[in-house]
Every structure is written in structure tokens, then in C-alpha cells.
């Protein structure tokens, strides 16, 4: 399994750089960045990513609501969504998973294993 295009939805510019570099260095050719949920929804149909890596606490539209809208839209509901967030309580993970996300990765993440963790989650879910 390979990932050729990831849509990274993250408001922190430094984390955008680290996550993008981490994915690029581990073999993902294209990483497109959205700075919040609104931007993600605006560009997702055009970008057509293999995966959306979604932060939770963001301005304008948070990750939970973004995920809910992605899963409610027949055009985007099949795109796998994985949360990458500092919100790591049981109930927060549960809330994310109930919205139809494939998995939940917590910050701080290890950039040297981020890609392999994403692939593992996709494989576990047969995506």
C-alpha cells in the first residue's frame, strides 16, 4: 500500500512543516496543506487526497465538525480520515472515532514513524 497524496489539515505553521517533511522524507510525493476545517472542505474535492490527516483544535472550523461534514457528504465520505491531535483523553478519542475517523494519532508524534503509522491504520481498516 502506498500513499501518493495526503491532505494535512493543521493550523500551526511549524507543525505543518514538520509533518509535511516527515511524510515527504518517508516517501509520500504530495502533501497538500489546509490551515483549518473550512479550507479543508473548500479544497478537498479538487485535491482528491488518499487520506486526510486532521488536527482537532483549529480556528474557524474544528476537526470534529470537519470530519462530520466530510462523512456526511457522499462525495467525500469514503476518504479515510485520521486525527492527529493533542487531545488524547479516552472520551476525546471515542468522540473522534464515532464521527467515522479511521484512527487517532496523538501529538507529539514521532516524525520518523508517522508514515508507517498511517499505513498501519489504513491496513488495519482494510482501506
Amino acid at each position: 500500500m502506498t500513499l501518493s497524496k495526503v491532505l494535512l489539515v493543521e493550523d500551526d505553521p511549524d507543525i505543518q512543516v514538520v509533518a509535511r517533511m516527515s511524510l515527504k522524507v518517508s516517501g509520500v510525493p504530495e502533501v497538500v496543506i489546509a490551515s483549518n476545517g473550512e479550507e479543508c472542505l473548500a479544497m478537498v474535492r479538487q485535491v482528491k487526497p488518499d487520506l486526510i490527516l486532521l488536527d482537532v483544535m483549529m480556528p474557524k472550523l474544528d476537526g470534529y465538525e470537519t470530519c462530520r461534514r466530510l462523512k456526511a457528504d457522499p462525495e467525500t465520505q469514503l476518504i479515510p480520515v485520521i486525527f492527529l491531535t493533542a487531545k488524547a483523553q479516552h472520551y476525546e478519542v471515542k468522540q473522534g472515532m464515532e464521527l467515522g475517523a479511521l484512527g487517532y494519532l496523538t501529538k507529539p508524534f514521532d516524525p520518523t514513524t508517522l508514515h508507517s503509522q498511517l499505513l498501519e491504520l489504513l491496513q488495519q481498516n482494510g482501506s
Partner: protein, 363 residues
């Protein structure tokens, strides 16, 4: 006491009860409203004279549309033969406005000590609830705001160390490894501070299930093995063939044992052995983590569960200074007990007990 004095006393008591802000109601053994103070009547919107002596169930029917959640409201203001004191929280909704009430109830005993009814006190705890919500929000925001910069600092160092940004000299590598190690330490400290704050604020949501304590204990031993190996310390598990189940959060039990083991490793001499002993004591499942370290002086025993307390001379560095405080908080949240027994020069044993889950009668 003559009747005039009795009357005067009753008047004073009634005036006192009418002067307090909390609502008070008394239900007698026949389930009738025996008394209510002014605050109760005002909140319920009733005329006292019309309701005292009438069935409390009728009053409850009148009030129930404003009491939430419904299952909790069901048990409110009811006579029961239960002599125990109890406490529950209910919400009182009046239009758009919600007031959080804590209902304390207990037996009303007459002069001979016989139970004559049940007293209900309703305290407005809306302010406390608001503070709890603010605490919760603070923890959530602090957690996010502290972890976000740590993510980019650690991530950047990781990427440079992995050679992504080009070859690094051995000196640069050494300095980056120090920065990396310190980042990890800071992340552990942030996690522990937030964890302890959440436990103390009652903000941890536990996923309690029936489990055998052996399982999280074994997972904790596996988890700390690399650190123990590095320190030259071995860990041996001693357990009976079977143990009753406990109702607990598996991850949190593992965290308790991990913290106790982390402490034991820190104080164990090289080539030392730590014994983890599981046993049953009456209705308690007990776990003891026994080390052969320097031990703790009697006057310091109480300090060990405090925050950032360093008691004795550890054989090696590490830990955030909050591990035992977190373990104590988690054990208490499981209705358990935790303590330490120690002899200077011989070692310490940290013990905790969790109540065994009640076995449901078959048939």
C-alpha cells in the same frame, strides 16, 4: 421542657431554617411532606400551608418536569427505609436557566432516636460547576498549547537526527541528542502535570471494566523491562493461581504499576531484584512492589506521595517527581488504598489494594 420553651425553640429553629439559602424538605414515614423551609417553597413555587401534610409524591409529580436527569429525579424527595445518608446531583431547569443542585439526604430521627422520616437538603452548586467547567477548559487548552510547540521542537530534532537535513557532525549529533532527551523529559513532565491536574479536578473519565489485575501488571512489567534491563535490575512476578476480578480501568491500573515500578527501579541497586506480588486480602486484591533499595526513614514515609518529593538517595536519575502522586490519585479514584512500608537499608514495598468486584449470585 415546658411547652412555652418548646414553642420558642421551634420558632427559632423554623426562623433559622427559613433564613438559610439552601432548600430543606422533610418527608415522613408515610411519605407525606412533613416540613419545608422558605427557600424550598420559593424554588418549588408552592404555598407551604397547602402542601405540608400532603403526599410528597404529588409534589414530586409537580416538580419533575423541572428536574433532570429524569432517573436521578425519580429518587428525589422520596421516603425510603434506607437509613444511610446519600448525595446526588440534580439539575433544576426553569425556562432557559439551569441551576445545579446537590441533594443531601439522610434519616430524620425523633427524640427517641427512631427514624421518623427523611430530610432533604438542596444546595445550589452552580458556581462550583462553573469552576469545574473552567478547570476542565483550562486543562484542555493548557494541554493543547503546551503540546503544540513541543511537537514541532521534538519533530524538528527527530528529522535532523534522522539525517533528513543532511549529515550531522558527531558533536552536533551529541548536542541534538541532549536536546531530544530533554524534550522527552519535558513532554513526560507536561503529561504528568496535566494528568495530576485532571485527577485532582475529577476530570478523568475512567473506562472501568471487570478485569484480572494480573493483566495490567504484566503489561506494566513488559513496558518497563527495557529501562530495568538498562539499570541491571530484574523484575519477578509472584501471583496466586487465581485472583478475583476488580472493576477498574485497565490502562490506568497499568499506569499505577508502571509508576511504582519506575520508582522501584530508580532506587534499586545494580543487579537488584524487584518483586511484584499479587495477593488477595479479604475482599481486596493487593499488589505489592518490593525493592531492595536504600529504604525510607519513618519520618519521610508520609512525604513520598507528595509532588516533586525526593526522599532518600536514588541509585539513578529519571522520573518526573509526580509518579507516586499520580498513582495515589488513580488508586483513590478506584476506591482503593495505597501506602508504603519501608526499612532503612533494607528496601521499601509500595502496596495498593482495589476492592474485589462483587460476584453476582447465580440462578
Amino acid at each position: 421542657m415546658d411547652s412555652a420553651k418548646t414553642k420558642a425553640r421551634i420558632t427559632i429553629e423554623s426562623e433559622l431554617l427559613d433564613s438559610i439559602l439552601s432548600a430543606v424538605a422533610v418527608v415522613d414515614r408515610e411519605g407525606r411532606l412533613a416540613y419545608c423551609n422558605r427557600a424550598f417553597a420559593q424554588r418549588a413555587g408552592i404555598e407551604r400551608g397547602q402542601w405540608v401534610g400532603r403526599p410528597a409524591a404529588e409534589l414530586l409529580t409537580l416538580l419533575q418536569p423541572r428536574l433532570f436527569p429524569a432517573d436521578v429525579a425519580e429518587t428525589s424527595l422520596r421516603w425510603s427505609n434506607d437509613e444511610k445518608e446519600s448525595m446526588q446531583e440534580v439539575e433544576w431547569r426553569e425556562g432557559e436557566r439551569t441551576t445545579h443542585l446537590r441533594e443531601d439526604s439522610g434519616p430524620w430521627r425523633d427524640a427517641q432516636g427512631k427514624v421518623a422520616g427523611r430530610i432533604f437538603l438542596y444546595h445550589d452548586i452552580s458556581r462550583e460547576k462553573e469552576i469545574d467547567r473552567m478547570k476542565s477548559e483550562f486543562i484542555s487548552v493548557a494541554s493543547h498549547e503546551l503540546r503544540t510547540p513541543m511537537t514541532s521542537i521534538k519533530g524538528s530534532i527527530d528529522l535532523v537526527l534522522s539525517g533528513f537535513a543532511g549529515q550531522v557532525t558527531s558533536e552536533t549529533q551529541e548536542l541534538l541528542e541532549i536536546a531530544h532527551k530533554s524534550c522527552d523529559r519535558l513532554i513526560r513532565l507536561i503529561n504528568d502535570i496535566l494528568d495530576l491536574a485532571k485527577i485532582e479536578a475529577g476530570q478523568v473519565r475512567f473506562k472501568k471494566v471487570l478485569l484480572d489485575l494480573t493483566d495490567p501488571v504484566e503489561r506494566a512489567i513488559r513496558g518497563v523491562k527495557p529501562v530495568a534491563d538498562q539499570a541491571g535490575v530484574s523484575i519477578r512476578l509472584v501471583r496466586p493461581d487465581s485472583l478475583p476480578q476488580i472493576e477498574a480501568d485497565k490502562d490506568r491500573m497499568e499506569q499505577v504499576v508502571t509508576n511504582l515500578l519506575g520508582n522501584a527501579i530508580k532506587f534499586s541497586p545494580e543487579n537488584g531484584e524487584i518483586v511484584v506480588e499479587l495477593s488477595l486480602h479479604d475482599h481486596w486484591v493487593q499488589c505489592a512492589v518490593i525493592d531492595r533499595g536504600c529504604g525510607i526513614a519513618p519520618q519521610d514515609l508520609e512525604k513520598v506521595f507528595g509532588r516533586f518529593q525526593q526522599v532518600g538517595e536514588p541509585s539513578r536519575k529519571g522520573g518526573t517527581g509526580l509518579g507516586l502522586a499520580i498513582a495515589q490519585g488513580l488508586v483513590h479514584e478506584h476506591n482503593g488504598k495505597i501506602w508504603v512500608e519501608s526499612q532503612v537499608g533494607k528496601g521499601s514495598q509500595f502496596l495498593f489494594r482495589i476492592p474485589a468486584a462483587a460476584v453476582k449470585a447465580s440462578g
